[in-house]
């Protein structure tokens, strides 16, 4: 870049207020839209399933010690301290990975009637990776004897910021559009972080302690399965193809690289 680029700079400076009005610069990451189901086809379901393990290949970073002194009530809940380990690996399996049908599921799926719950317990979120169908109700609960605010920062859905000053409070929200990895945080306790993914169909699972998952209720067909982890981000998502036949269980193992 030479001085010749200065006129371009001046032009960009001129558009500064407009750029700000649009909520930031073009460096903002493009929102990740979850794959939408074909809107007119009838939804299908079956008895097939996909099981497997998501492994992690890479160095596991050391757990971060959280400074809880900002809120004595949080400190009292964790007398031995609190550690954050967003890359949680056990026996090679990675926890909190969203595994979902990226393509192959046809039909428009309505939101399940049951709520999904995001709990604030011990000044932490449970779960850290939450997945739901677009339009499904999200119940946000404060199980702590301290106040929290719940502040998701979606790109496609509507952002909100709700305070829950008392223990036992619940709020109901929903997200209408499929969107992957919406970061959720508490601005009172900055260490609290979780991700919500909103999907177009109910064929997904989140890996458990050992990295294992099971996606149930699949009709026969060929599917592209993607695995994505909140900390590693969408860029490091991996996918694979699998066929479900005769309502039986198919197997797919994937590896996420650090």
């Amino acid at each position: 870049m030479t001085l010749k680029s200065l006129p371009k700079l001046v032009l960009i400076l001129g558009s500064l207020p407009f750029a700000a009005a649009c909520g930031g610069g073009s460096e903002a990451p493009k929102p990740a839209e979850a794959p939408a189901a074909a809107p007119l086809a009838a939804p299908a379901s079956g008895s097939g399933s996909i099981t497997g393990t998501i492994a992690f290949d890479g160095a596991v970073p050391a757990a971060e010690k959280v400074k809880l002194t900002a809120d004595p009530k949080c400190a009292a809940m964790h007398k031995d301290g609190l550690e954050r380990q967003p890359i949680h690996v056990k026996d090679g399996g990675l926890r909190d990975v969203l595994v979902y049908v990226k393509s192959g599921a046809s039909g428009a799926y309505s939101a399940p009637a049951e709520d999904v719950v995001l709990d604030q317990r011990g000044c932490d979120y449970t779960p850290h990776m939450l997945a739901m169908v677009a339009g499904q109700k999200l119940k946000i609960r404060n199980s702590d004897d301290t106040l929290h605010n719940i502040h998701p920062r979606p790109q496609l859905n509507t952002e909100f910021n709700v305070g829950q000053p008392r223990q036992g409070m619940e709020s109901e929200k929903s997200f209408d559009k499929p969107e992957m990895l919406i970061p959720v945080g508490c601005d009172v306790h900055p260490w609290m972080r979780a991700f919500i993914s909103v999907l177009a169909n109910p064929f997904f699972a989140v890996t458990g302690e050992d990295g294992r998952f099971e996606i149930k209720g699949l009709p026969d067909g060929e599917y592209e399965i993607e695995a994505v982890h909140g900390k590693l981000g969408k860029d490091k998502a991996v996918s694979g193809n699998v066929t479900v036949k005769g309502g039986e269980a198919a197997t797919l193992d994937l590896t996420l690289k650090g």
């Binding site: 680029s5 200065l6 400076l13 909520g23 460096e27 301290t146 605010n149 305070g163 601005d187």
Partner: protein
């Protein structure tokens, strides 16, 4: 910054007797100085809110979690603390405006005090809107810029109520150059603070992560608006330095000694401000240098503005003296 320091430590200007000027009201002047100081503290507290990412730690407004006084934990300490300081400044400004309206013979000063009150109310509303609408950058930037403007109003009020302003008499020589340099420095510092606010509120503070180079180059590739805004802010720092050096030279060439101290302060603040900006980048926006960067920017603006006001006053004090009573609207505030 004390508007009186120069006047008190040096021989009083010759000219009209004190009785021909509006009476000096020491307690009202002190209130104006306290408001000025509290406003600088408020700007620091506001900087802390952004630096700690606590802008939305209290999701409601004007109450905080439905309370007047929520538990001061985590991010609430910064956000609600900012609201508390702002409330204090609001009350000080209200008191100053009412007192000035009752006690001040100069219409311009009375109007300026009401303008200050209007600005502080508007500032509170902008602060509320930015919370309720989840920190939209235009509102947050307007909130930041109005804060600096209000700070300048408090400086003008405090100076207009000072003995130096009230008792200035014969016009001084060598003032015009300083006045021009101070006014242009004030204008550009304000613009630089605007660019800084845009950068801050669009999250571009680390868009160029290295210093003094930018991605290892003198001029980076302007891939996006964030890099462009960040680079303009760096470029602006050099231009501010040039303006302040010009002010410093004008002040030291002038035979009037009252300009030397504040111009030294302006130069020191500018150099410190550049160092703080660099530290903010190199520490990945650590809270302390980033917040001090905001407050020092305000102090620099205020210093340049004070020099400009002093030069304006010392250049044309005679309208007041010639009539033996204050002239409404003269010199902006007298």
């Amino acid at each position: 910054m004390s508007a009186n320091s120069g006047a008190e430590s040096r021989p009083q200007p010759s000219g009209p007797s004190r009785s021909s000027s509006p009476a000096y009201r020491p307690w009202r002047h002190r209130l104006a100085l306290v408001t000025l100081g509290a406003t600088l503290c408020l700007i620091f507290a506001g900087g802390l809110v952004t630096s700690t990412g606590s802008g939305l730690a209290v999701p409601d407004w004007p109450l905080s979690y439905g309370m007047l006084m929520p538990p001061m934990v985590g991010g609430i300490f910064y956000e609600h603390g900012h609201r508390m300081v702002a409330t204090g400044v609001g009350f000080l400004t209200l008191l100053l405006a009412v007192w000035t309206a009752i006690d001040e013979p100069r219409r311009g000063v009375r109007r300026l005090a009401w303008a200050g009150l209007a600005a502080v109310v508007a500032q509170g509303v902008l602060g509320g809107l930015t919370v309720l609408y989840l920190l939209p950058p235009p509102v947050s930037v307007a909130h930041a810029c109005l804060a600096q403007t209000f700070f300048c109003i408090t400086i003008a009020l405090a100076y207009a109520m000072s003995r130096e302003w009230l008792w200035a008499s014969a016009p001084r020589a060598d003032v015009a150059d300083v006045r021009g340099a101070a006014l242009s420095a004030t204008g550009f510092v304000w613009f630089q603070l605007f660019v800084g606010a845009v950068m801050r509120h669009m999250g571009a503070g680390l868009a160029i992560p290295d210093f003094p180079l930018a991605f290892g180059r003198v001029i980076p590739v302007f891939e996006n608006a964030a890099i462009s805004v960040h680079f303009v802010h760096r470029l602006g720092a050099l231009i501010v330095l040039a303006f302040v050096v010009r002010l410093w030279l004008a002040a030291h060439r002038s035979s009037e000694p009252l300009f030397k101290g504040p111009s030294n302060l302006a130069l020191g603040l500018t150099l410190g401000q550049i160092a703080l900006g660099a530290t903010s980048v190199l520490t990945a926006k650590a809270v302390t240098p980033t917040t001090l960067h905001v407050a020092t920017g305000a102090a620099l603006l205020g210093t340049c503005w004070f020099v400009a006001l002093r030069a304006i006053r010392l250049a044309r004090p005679t309208r007041l003296a010639a009539h033996g009573r204050p002239v409404a609207g003269a010199h902006g505030v007298a």
